[in-house]
């Protein structure tokens, strides 16, 4: 997209009432509360993925693989919590996020992480013989990659605070 068109778009978002309220309200229920939600959601989304990866890699062998299906409920809830809170953070500072390449890397890493979780679900969690026959080595590769991808996603997200070029379109 043309840089001018991008700034026109993000500048328009920044002037909407929701964006202004999120950014400028002194209330802790505006920006700070959304940040807290985003961090709790991150903890449960990344954390439950780590738990799944550790099980697939063989660290908590006594839990039957099929029972990890339950973890997907936590992943789903925390993913939607973070899609929602993330959208609000994006509405608050659209220029800041959309002009930073790391933001797109973060989204890509999240997509990879989710794809990994779905692969593990198909390969082992919903595989009735996985408990008896053991985890295939390709699934262990997926789990090990998933750990690295989620750590990368967390890091990319955290670095957004340090690496932005433009805070707002008006600058």
């Amino acid at each position: 997209m043309n840089v001018f068109a991008l700034f026109a778009f993000t500048g328009w978002i920044e002037q909407t009432a929701l964006s202004v309220w999120l950014r400028e309200s002194p209330s802790l229920w505006a920006f700070p509360f959304v940040l807290i939600l985003h961090t709790v959601g991150m903890g449960f989304l990344v954390g439950s993925n780590i738990a799944l990866d550790l099980r697939v890699l063989g660290f908590v062998p006594r839990i039957p693989l099929s029972l990890f299906e339950k973890l997907f409920l936590i992943m789903r809830i925390s993913f939607f919590l973070n899609a929602g809170s993330g959208l609000l953070l994006l509405i608050a500072y659209p220029t800041k996020a959309l002009t930073n390449p790391l933001f797109y890397l973060k989204l890509a890493l999240i997509a990879f992480g989710l794809a990994g979780a779905l692969m593990l679900r198909n390969q082992v969690i919903r595989n009735p013989v996985a408990d008896a026959e053991g985890v295939p080595s390709r699934s262990k590769t997926v789990a090990a990659t998933s750990l690295v991808v989620w750590a990368g996603g967390v890091t990319a997200g955290r670095l957004l605070a340090y690496t932005y070029k433009f805070l707002m379109a008006g600058e």
Partner: protein, 167 residues
């Protein structure tokens, strides 16, 4: 600045925290450690409360060492932040409340292992934890989310931008 702050700021660790890479790296590790804690201790707490009862409590408990590892990462990185900018934390009400939540969480962990763990250890798939253990699981979730929330609020209470009723 107090003698304690002056001394902390003179340490090697404090200087290192002001290199271009140390603070962002420690922040990233701190958030990864938090995820490890919520993904292990948090899920165990949910199980105590009755979530995913088909998973046996002692089996799920084997995730806890990874949560302790996350906690350890966060103690080390947390101390590094504190030593890097002591005045940003000492006089910050959000930091003080965070320490209260950490103490409560610590007492809760101690109580759990002293009183309830031996009962929980024998509960297999489908079995409920005793009521007291369930209460401790709920308290654990509240306290750790309290720790996390106060951590996120630190920057909004940075002295002296916001008035603190008791600092």
């Amino acid at each position: 600045m107090s003698p304690l702050e002056l001394w902390l700021k003179s340490t090697y660790l404090s200087h290192m925290m002001h290199t271009w890479w140390a603070w962002p790296t420690a922040e990233s590790l701190h958030f990864f450690g938090l995820s490890l804690l919520l993904g292990t201790v948090g899920i165990f707490d949910l199980r105590l409360l009755g979530f995913a009862r088909q998973i046996s409590l002692p089996a799920l408990h084997r995730l806890i060492p990874f949560g302790i590892f996350g906690y350890f990462i966060n103690v080390v990185t947390g101390i590094s932040f504190f030593v890097g900018e002591p005045d940003q934390y000492l006089y910050n009400p959000s930091f003080q409340i965070k320490m209260v939540f950490m103490t409560l969480a610590g007492i809760n962990v101690m109580l759990f292992y002293l009183t309830m763990f031996r009962h929980v250890k024998t509960r297999g798939p489908g079995e409920n934890a005793p009521l007291a253990a369930r209460i401790m699981g709920g308290a654990s979730l509240v306290f750790w989310i309290g720790v996390l929330s106060c951590g996120r609020l630190l920057t909004f209470f940075r002295p002296p931008t916001r008035w603190c009723p008791w600092c």
